[in-house]
């Protein structure tokens, strides 16, 4: 379809650069602090969040509710460590806060909460909530004649939820070109491969059929992500859906593409050391 962006060269085996490895080390730091967390779900998101915060989003860390900011809603709230790491990197809070992940009085829970954490736009964790909220925010920004954009990042298992598709219908009806829906398509959900649990293919066609301009990209290719996200909206008359092909657990050789690493509720020092070693070996 015209205006759609073709899949950029997908290189699953591609090397992670120094910054991507360092960001993953910060993920392990939070996992160590909380002795638990969504490992695979956070690691597939790193480059998406990195490029958004490094190169694309407008924000002011010292004024998180700055009216002109772009709104970034992590709908797959269980991947929050990837966003916490970027918020720390950008000065929304000190890196030391990562060590408090999931602890009793921490601001950083296992799912992100607006109002507690500077820079978090919506409390998520229950799946399928981010896109409807994103539609409302995009409508509100349009009424205010703001040129700020909305980015909603969902998982792939998450879009089993019907509410996502209700919102997709609405985004298309309202021609919300200020709304960008990014799908972290790591192809593994909590209980197994998405193609076994509830097949999503042909996903790009589905998004097109729901009225989105669709782009596909290797979600670990920093340069490709940067190039693509600098061109949004892909179509000035339609919302954009960006299917990010990613690898669950990316960067930890023993965890990649394995649903058993979706979440770990008990992470000991030995495992933490293994994770650091795996990152060292990259």
């Amino acid at each position: 379809m015209a205006n759609d962006v073709a899949l950029s060269a997908h290189a699953p085996g591609q090397q992670l650069d120094k910054r991507s490895i360092e960001l993953r080390r910060l993920v392990v730091r939070a996992l160590d602090g909380g002795a638990r967390g969504h490992i695979g779900s956070s690691l597939s998101l790193i480059e998406i969040m990195r490029v958004l915060y490094d190169d694309i989003l407008r924000y002011r860390a010292d004024t998180p509710d700055w009216e002109e900011r772009d709104r970034c809603i992590l709908s797959k709230g269980h991947g929050c460590i990837a966003q916490y790491v970027m918020l720390a990197e950008k000065g929304f809070f000190p890196h030391e806060v990562l060590d408090t992940f999931c602890r009793r009085d921490s601001i950083l829970g296992g799912h992100p909460e607006a109002g507690k954490i500077p820079g978090i736009e919506a409390s998520t964790g229950a799946l399928g909530h981010g896109l409807p909220i994103g539609v409302g925010r995009a409508m509100g920004l349009r009424i205010k004649q703001s040129d700020a954009c909305v980015f909603v990042i969902t998982g792939d298992g998450e879009i089993n939820e019907g509410s996502v598709w209700e919102a997709a219908l609405s985004a298309s009806k309202h021609r919300l070109s200020n709304l960008n829906w990014m799908i972290d398509y790591n192809k593994v959900q909590s209980a197994g491969p998405t193609e076994e649990i509830l097949p999503l293919e042909p996903l790009a066609d589905k998004c097109r059929a729901f009225g989105f301009a669709v782009a596909e990209v290797d979600g670990h290719d920093v340069e490709a992500l940067r190039r693509l996200l600098r061109t949004v909206p892909v179509d000035r008359e339609r919302p954009t859906a960006i299917i990010c092909h990613t690898v669950k657990g990316k960067g930890l050789s023993f965890a990649e593409n394995d649903a058993n690493w979706h979440h770990k509720s008990s992470i000991n020092k030995e495992l933490v050391a293994q994770m650091y070693d795996a990152l060292e070996a990259l």
Partner: protein, 315 residues
């Protein structure tokens, strides 16, 4: 009551640019008026309750005050998680207008009856639950919805219900209205009521007065936050408390009243009788009035329940 509510939304929208309106799929004339009276700020979004509640949350996060209007059971049950997480957890000023609360949709059967809406809305932190008794009271209430800080569930009755509210008694969200009181303020019976059950209770009180039984009628239009102070003040020294609601007895006004009494008057609570819908899905169709009769919620049955309660007390 429904036209009074929707007309008020249009009126508020003219006064305040923050007001927006979202319908799901009802009433073609409303769709037309939305476009005429609130251009660019009102939408008919289709049968997608989960989405419209999330969308209203997004609008509220951007500083708007969305009024979301659809059938009561669908705006409460169908999208309960969105109401809990998107609206209540974020404490956003979204107003949910539930059309046909209670037994209004009697002929359409149990899928359309909102008989546990108050219970499930009341269970959510930050939620305000309001069930006014007539169209005049609706207008007074709606004026206060602009600046109320959190989400509100607004339960609509059938419409064209008799006007029993009185302007001179005022209206404040969260403040009970004593609609009837014995001379000197001392009645043997305190009836606590909400919605159009208040109308039935007032009529029952007239019948009871003829028998020499004085009743105070406390109209609890706001079920949450409950006006505990007013309740306790009137609960002291009475022989019988009767709660009356067009709602299941599980978790509604009666439960809210008992919760408050247990906390505030341990060991000294007068006998309490809850009148409401039993814990079962409706088996009949017909009309709202017919179902209310079946459930003992019409004036003669309410009056009889009071007499029975006092008789048991005396025994």
């Amino acid at each position: 009551m429904r036209p009074a509510c929707v007309n008020k939304v249009f009126e508020l929208a003219k006064r305040d640019p923050r007001v927006t309106y979202i319908g799901s799929d009802l009433d073609p004339p409303i769709t037309k008026r939305m476009k005429d009276e609130m251009p660019g700020r009102a939408w008919m979004e289709g049968v997608s309750e989960q989405h419209i509640v999330g969308m209203s949350a997004g609008l509220a996060m951007e500083g708007f005050i969305p009024y979301v209007h659809t059938i009561a059971t669908f705006i409460t049950r169908r999208c309960y998680e969105q109401v809990a997480v998107d609206l209540c957890l974020h404490n956003l000023p979204v107003r949910l207008i539930g059309n046909g609360g209670g037994l209004v949709y009697a002929p359409l059967g149990p899928t359309h009856l909102a008989i546990e809406d108050i219970a499930i809305m009341r269970a959510l932190p930050n939620m305000t639950v309001v069930s006014v008794c007539d169209a005049d009271e609706m207008k007074r209430f709606m004026d206060q919805t602009l600046d109320w800080p959190g989400p509100i569930y607004i339960r609509l009755a059938k419409g064209y219900d008799p006007i029993v509210s009185r302007a001179e008694l005022g209206f404040t969200i969260g403040k009970a209205i004593v609609m009837r009181e014995a001379a000197g303020g001392k009645s043997r019976v305190l009836m606590v009521t909400t919605g159009v059950a208040t109308t039935r209770a007032l009529e029952a009180a007239d019948a009871l007065e003829a028998d020499g039984i004085e009743c105070t009628i406390m109209h609890m239009h706001t079920v949450k936050p409950l006006d505990t102070a007013a309740l306790i003040e009137h609960a002291r020294d009475c022989d019988l408390i009767v709660t009356v609601e067009e709602h299941t007895i599980v978790g509604g006004l009666g439960s809210a009243v008992i919760d408050a009494l247990v906390d505030a008057m341990p060991g000294t609570i007068p006998p309490v009788k809850r009148l409401g819908i039993p814990d079962a899905f409706a088996k009949n169709y017909g009309s709202q009035d017919q179902l209310m009769e079946i459930y003992g919620l019409q004036p003669p049955e309410i009056a009889q329940a009071v007499r029975d309660g006092l008789r048991r007390r005396a025994a």
